[in-house]
């Protein structure tokens, strides 16, 4: 059986692409490096938009990366159901390209925050979260400067009522996100945006836990069973 192939897009300034690749590998899939400047998704089964400072976060985080050549193909594929996980900067790119609603603003505390963050899984049905159960508590690093999720009232209400909030912060909201939102998904549930970094919680040697591995094993399972 061929391993599932998960693409990871590198933009100029992407930082956690190799870490995402490691997580994919640990989950049993094959990471495929994708270049922002190409128009080729190389037939991958899923795509991760990794964390980092694409284009230096110039203008707004993710504002320029969303116009990268490869994003044309990615948006089309996502709208057609391709599983896409946007982590941190990736989440920002997804919002800027309107694959997800809302926007990410500077942290309320106006500082970059790196901490081991407790989360609660709110939706364990997306392709990226099936390995968790609803209500499960995780400890996953969060590390960003512009992580405050915001959306208008209607959108927030809709997200909450349709179960599209994927994860919420517990104990402490590190950035002032509305409704303590740490991650959301689109209507179809194939596109997930997450501010914390699950790829940094996949080995007990280097992370606060291995709680993040579930995001990657979920997609592997889904792809293998597809």
């Amino acid at each position: 059986m061929d391993a599932a192939r998960v693409g990871i897009i590198t933009f100029p300034g992407s930082l956690d692409d190799k870490d995402a690749a490691r997580a994919v590998r640990l989950a049993g899939a094959e990471p495929v490096a994708l270049w922002h400047g190409d128009h080729d998704l190389r037939g991958v089964d899923a795509v991760v938009l990794p964390g980092g400072f694409s284009y230096g976060d110039y203008l707004r985080a993710g504002a320029i990366a969303r116009f990268a050549p490869l994003m044309t193909e990615l948006v089309a594929a996502a709208e057609a159901g391709l599983p896409v996980l946007g982590i941190c900067n990736g989440f920002q790119v997804l919002c800027e390209s309107h694959l997800l609603p809302g926007a990410l603003l500077p942290n309320a505390g106006l500082h970059f925050v790196c901490r081991d963050q407790r989360l609660r899984v709110e939706n364990a049905d997306t392709v990226w979260t099936t390995e968790y159960r609803e209500g499960q508590e995780l400890v996953i690093p969060i590390k960003n400067r512009d992580g405050r999720y915001t959306a208008d009232r209607e959108t927030l209400a809709e997200l909450a009522s349709t179960g599209r909030i994927v994860a919420r912060y517990l104990d402490l909201n590190p950035n002032g996100s509305q409704d303590d939102i740490a991650g959301i998904c689109n209507e179809a549930g194939n596109v997930v945006g997450l501010m914390p970094h699950p790829e940094h919680a996949v080995e007990s040697l280097t992370g606060p836990s291995t709680d993040g591995l579930g995001f990657f094993t979920s997609i592997v399972k889904r792809l293998v069973n597809a």
Partner: protein, 1164 residues
């Protein structure tokens, strides 16, 4: 509080024995012995007090290697004499108001030393009436008219130089007060000894006065030697070469030579010397003035920057004539009458970044004025140069510059330079002294072009040439322990060590202190950028950063300005690069109030075969500049050379703060790694200080020796830049590579993929010359090694600080100690919440520690640990430590204690220490006390590394960290790198296992000198720091490494600042588990002493015997002190009445609250 606890007889208590003041003498004695001085045995205590105390005598100024040769004879060339005689004063009709005024002064007669300068108008000041350097009347300058000042220290007109000024003047490195230049052949000053610092016995200089007949040889005849009680110095006429330095003159010496127009920089005059040379027009920087000095030199029109005047009680200030350069800054607090600033006088000196002693701008220092271009060159400001006013990287407000008349001659080419040897050049304003300038002319066989002058001035600056520190830093090489692990040693961009399995690691720490004071965010950010590029240029992928930060008091307003910006800048830059921050330190002390320290470390990794060098081999290979465009960042001084229309608008485009672009640097990292991966580069250098000048000279010097560069090809952000400016630009995020012709296309392709500008700017040649062209003309043609490697070497005077004896005598033994459980409890909490010991989470949570996914340990753990190889678990550990207080008390020991702490921290994670880097942060090298501290610290560090068997692979020196005459505590920051064969075996510092046995390894002595307890509770600094014991450190390290490898211990935390108390606090809070402790001996000593070579461990159940055996065979005492568990820190020990009792119990939540609430309340 009464002192209770175990009473000792005073005879037994080392803390109560006042250190004999002759300890200081012992240091001196060591210095005075024939070099090399006997090094103290590494690990030995500083010299013990003498058995029979000797009276304290004022220490003489000691200049190691001071030559004893007779002074050369100055002969006056009769032809020159005739020319000089024929010189006429400027005709009256060309005199402007300034000249007229000056002439009026000159006609008033000779200086009367007794005149105070309260009324500036009456200051006699010969030689002010000319701007034309070639015209003057020597007869006015007969210094024999001066009466010697009364003898005695501090009486009469004192020379303008006090402590802290040394051989250098207030402006520019190495441009110190020079003796007046005489006419005729230059006395035989040995160029290799350039510039000779002031030293005793250098003898007076003679007036070279036409018509005075044959002059006696220096040092003979009626002129006294320069030294205590020496007589008047002689005036020396204009147009002569550099003179030997006038030695530090003892109290009551006579006036110094008058400086005539056209003379170059004057040698520094030692403390308590007589009136300083008056300076005529067109002269170089004036001597800096220390406190307590007498009348300052008057400065004529068109002169360079004025002397700075030290704070506190200086005599009358220099009179600043119309049209001179920037005014002397006047120190705060009681300086004498301020300089009178005429209209048209230049801007006030501003405290700048990266610069030498800054004139403090005190009250009454006068208005700012438009600096007219013809009133003298704008003082150059560059990184690391001496005191600078104004323009340049990171300096304060800039003077408004108004161009008034052409002083611009068009592009200065080699041909023009050869044809116009007599053209005056503003080398002094660029920070060169006369001797250095003369050497350049000698090297080139003609005067340098403006561009060449720019290159030499910046390459020979303190920052680039290490001229004040080289003689001492040699010890790192000379005493380097033999090890085959060192793949690249000192002298390269960074050292490289072999860590096994074919992997090599490169690491280095660097400072960016002054810029961070001026613009905290960008100063710190660009500091990170610079050190990362150093690592990249070795061929490595950077994998982690660390930072060591020092600020003024935590609650000081300025700290609240600087700290958040620095932290945000470091985080902002490194986070954007994707480099995890794995550790460091944040320290608060009043001495850093206006001189914060920002030391940034970067570590990188590569395979052995990927090591790159900064060489330019192979004639025909191409030189490629890639990275950001070149703009007017930090060029300051180059404007002096080249400015044609230096008007308001052009002035505005000289950014004084370099702005970093981490995105560009991230692209550079990825691009470089691809270039290295495809083997496209044969030599590479990053551009830091001195930009293109440095990169080209260093690459060329290290390679085949020649290079041809076409400056027109350099891609510019600002098309109006002149070639001199291009050469000195410090635009960030640029690299220079040497590429074989066949690989250039592929090189360019990769750069294009990453959207990085890249341009072929030149070719390697075999001519042994660095040649640069501009618009088709050759403007640089010099031998690159002379700029890159053969800069001046100073041997500055050393002298223990005058207050050191008293400081060491003031032991903390006299301080009242906590005497019962309640007081101990309060002290534990007090220390745990004190700024230096409090939790730094507010700082460290602004740093990404996770990126790259290889961080195994980060702050607040003992050391940062990073995995290198996913499969084998190979990894490294790094710790960065320093202690300014220890070093202040004893620089030799203090440096060794910093080394000990970093060494211990690395071993505490289970890694084997392997190599050392260091950042040496000190005050002004012109202060003999500071220089002595530096020399001792370097010696201590070199000796320590030799003993420990770990070489120094590279580092950085930061001088001039001082405000006025108060230097920072000498602060050597030491980074130790260690290797983990398998990082999975490492241990943490947090208590996590309920019931685990806690043991204390090492010996505790009663040592509180420089301790956190004395500092926090009493604000006390005195006595001696803890005894260094490298033997015990190595024994402890071996126990820890073995015990960890064998799984005998589950937790390790070393003891350092705050002693066992702080170690317990940190381990309990880190693991959220309490402990029940029983203290041996005196509880206060057990808790707060800061003896070295100690660690606390949690023993794996069942491994107690093996651990004990390990300790015994290593000679390390081990004591069980308690058990982990519970939710409190509970401590039992000898109570006031001697019985064992529970002394105190602190619940973890209370401990946490104390420990964690401090920092956020001081900052944002």
């Amino acid at each position: 509080m009464e002192w209770l606890g175990e009473l000792k007889s005073d005879a037994d208590d080392p803390e109560l024995q006042p250190v004999d003041p002759s300890v200081t003498q012992a240091f001196e004695a060591m210095l005075e012995e024939a070099k090399p001085a006997k090094p103290a045995k590494p690990g030995a205590a500083p010299p013990a007090p003498q058995a029979s105390p000797q009276p304290l005598v004022p220490p003489p100024v000691v200049v190691p290697e001071a030559p004893a040769q007779p002074q050369p004879v100055i002969q006056v060339d009769p032809a020159v004499q005739a020319t000089l005689r024929a010189a006429q004063p400027l005709p009256a009709e060309t005199e402007g108001p300034e000249q007229e005024f000056a002439r009026a002064l000159a006609e008033e007669g000779p200086a009367d030393p007794a005149i105070t300068l309260a009324d500036p108008v009456t200051l006699p000041n010969p030689g002010l009436n000319q701007y034309d350097l070639n015209q003057y009347d020597l007869n006015q300058y007969d210094l024999n008219q001066y009466a010697p000042p009364p003898v005695g220290s501090g009486t009469g007109p004192q020379p303008a130089v006090g402590p802290g000024t040394g051989p250098q003047p207030a402006v520019g490195p190495g441009s110190g007060p020079q003796p007046v230049l005489g006419t005729g052949p230059i006395p035989a000053v040995d160029p290799a000894a350039s510039p000779r610092p002031s030293g005793p016995g250098t003898g007076p200089q003679q007036a070279v006065n036409p018509g005075t007949g044959p002059l006696p040889a220096l040092g003979t005849g009626p002129l006294p030697a320069v030294g205590t009680g020496t007589g008047p110095q002689q005036a020396v006429g204009p147009g002569t070469g550099p003179q030997p330095a006038v030695g530090p003159v003892g109290p009551g010496t006579s006036p110094q030579p008058v400086i005539r127009p056209g003379t170059g920089p004057i040698h520094a005059v030692g403390p308590n010397t007589g009136p300083q040379p008056a300076v005529g027009p067109g002269t170089g920087p004036q001597p800096a003035v220390g406190p307590g000095t007498g009348p300052q030199p008057a400065v004529g029109p068109g002169t360079g920057p004025q002397p700075a005047v030290g704070p506190g009680g200086s005599g009358p200030q220099p009179f600043a004539h119309p049209g001179p350069g920037p005014q002397p800054a006047v120190g705060p607090g009681g300086s004498g009458p301020q300089p009178f600033a005429h209209p048209g006088t230049g801007p006030m000196p501003v405290v700048g970044s990266g610069t030498g002693p800054q004139p403090a701008v005190g009250p009454g220092s006068g208005p700012q004025h438009v600096l007219r271009l013809d009133s003298g060159p704008i003082p150059a400001v560059g990184p690391g140069t001496g005191p600078q006013p104004t323009v340049g990287a990171g300096t304060g407000p800039q003077p408004a510059i108004e161009a008034t008349g052409p002083a611009y001659y068009g592009t200065d080419t080699v041909a023009i330079a050869a044809a116009s040897p007599e053209r005056p050049q503003p080398y002094a304003e660029l920070g060169m002294n006369d001797e250095e300038y003369r050497r350049v002319r000698e090297i080139l066989g003609r005067r340098p072009t403006s561009a060449e002058l720019a290159i030499y001035s910046v390459m020979w600056s303190e920052h680039c040439s290490y001229k004040s520190s080289k003689v001492h830093l040699r010890q790192f090489g000379e005493k380097a322990p033999k090890t085959d692990k060192l793949l690249v040693g000192m002298g390269e961009n960074a050292g490289v060590v072999d860590v096994g399995q074919g992997w090599a690691v490169t690491f280095k720490v660097e400072s960016h202190n002054h810029p961070s004071y001026v613009e905290p965010y960008q100063g710190a950010a660009t500091g990170v950028g610079g050190i990362v590029r150093d690592i990249m240029s070795m061929g490595a992928r950077p994998i982690a950063v660390m930072d060591s930060l020092r600020f003024g008091p935590a609650d000081a307003p300025d700290t609240q300005r600087v700290l958040p910006g620095v932290v945000a800048g470091i985080g902002g830059y490194a986070n954007s690069l994707g480099l995890p921050n794995i550790g460091g330190e944040t320290v608060f002390d009043a001495c850093y109030g206006q001189n914060p320290l920002v030391n940034a470390l970067c570590v990188g990794v590569m395979r052995h075969e990927d090591i790159q060098r900064a060489v330019a081999p192979g004639p025909g290979n191409r030189v490629i500049l890639f990275g950001a465009l070149t703009g007017p960042d930090g060029i300051g001084g180059a404007s002096v050379l080249a400015s044609a229309t230096f008007d308001e608008e052009s002035h505005q485009k000289r950014p004084s703060v370099q702005v970093g672009d981490p995105f560009m640097e991230k692209l550079l990292i990825e691009c470089c790694l691809e270039l290295f991966n495809e083997d496209l580069v044969v030599g590479i250098q990053d551009l830091g200080a001195a930009g293109v000048s440095c990169a080209t000279t260093e690459l060329a010097a290290a390679g085949t020796g020649g290079m041809h560069v076409d400056l027109d090809t350099i891609p510019l952000r600002d098309e109006t830049l002149l070639p001199e400016e291009i050469l000195m630009s410090e635009s960030q995020e640029r690299m220079m590579a040497v590429v074989t012709p066949d690989k250039v296309d592929r090189f360019m392709e990769i750069c294009a993929r990453w959207e990085i500008p890249a341009t072929v700017i030149g070719t390697v040649t075999d001519t042994g010359r660095l040649v640069m062209t501009w618009r088709g003309e050759t403007i640089v043609d010099l031998p690159p090694t002379t700029a890159a490697d053969e800069g001046p070497v100073y041997n500055r005077p050393l002298q223990p600080p005058a207050d050191l004896g008293a400081l060491q005598s003031d032991t903390p033994g006299r301080l009242t100690r906590p005497s019962n459980g309640d007081e101990l409890r309060r002290t534990v909490l007090w220390l745990a919440g004190s700024p230096n010991l409090a939790s730094k989470t507010w700082v460290t949570s602004q740093y990404d520690r996770y990126v790259l996914g290889n961080t195994v340990l980060a702050m607040p753990e003992n050391a940062g640990v990073v995995r290198i190889d996913d499969d084998s678990g190979l990894g490294i550990a790094l710790s960065l430590d320093g202690n300014g207080r220890y070093t202040r008390l004893d620089p030799y020991a203090g440096a060794q204690l910093a080394l000990s702490e970093a060494f211990r921290n690395v071993a505490a994670t289970g890694a084997r220490p392997l190599a050392v880097t260091n950042c040496l942060n000190f005050g002004s090298p012109e202060d003999p006390g500071v220089m002595w501290q530096f020399a001792r610290a370097v010696e201590g560090l070199a000796d320590g590394c030799q003993y420990l068997g770990i070489p120094v692979t590279g580092g950085n020196v930061s001088f001039y960290n001082q405000t006025g005459s108060a230097p920072i505590n000498p602060t050597p920051v030491v980074g130790v790198l260690g290797v983990h064969d398998d990082v999975r075996r490492r241990v943490n510092m947090g208590l996590t296992t309920d019931g685990a046995t806690l043991a204390l390894l090492g010996e505790t002595r009663e040592e509180f000198g420089g301790s956190e307890w004395a500092h926090v509770v009493y604000g006390h600094l005195g006595g001696l720091p803890p005894l260094v014991d490298f033997k015990a450190e190595t024994a402890l390290a071996s126990v820890l490494v073995n015990a960890i490898r064998d799984g005998l211990v589950t937790v390790v935390h070393d003891l350092s600042d705050g002693g066992l108390s702080q170690t317990l606090v940190e381990s309990c809070l880190r693991g959220s588990l309490g402990a029940r402790i029983t203290l041996p001996g005196d509880p206060f000593v057990a808790l707060f002493s800061e003896s070295v070579a100690r660690a606390m461990v949690a023993v794996r159940p069942g491994a107690e015997a093996r651990l004990a055996a390990l300790c015994e065979s290593a000679g390390i005492p081990v004591t069980q002190i308690g058990v982990a568990g519970g939710d409190s820190l509970t401590v039992t020990g000898h109570g006031p009445d001697g019985d064992q009792q529970e002394l105190f119990s602190i619940p973890l939540y209370e401990l946490r609250e104390s420990h964690e609430r401090t920092l956020p309340s001081y900052a944002d």
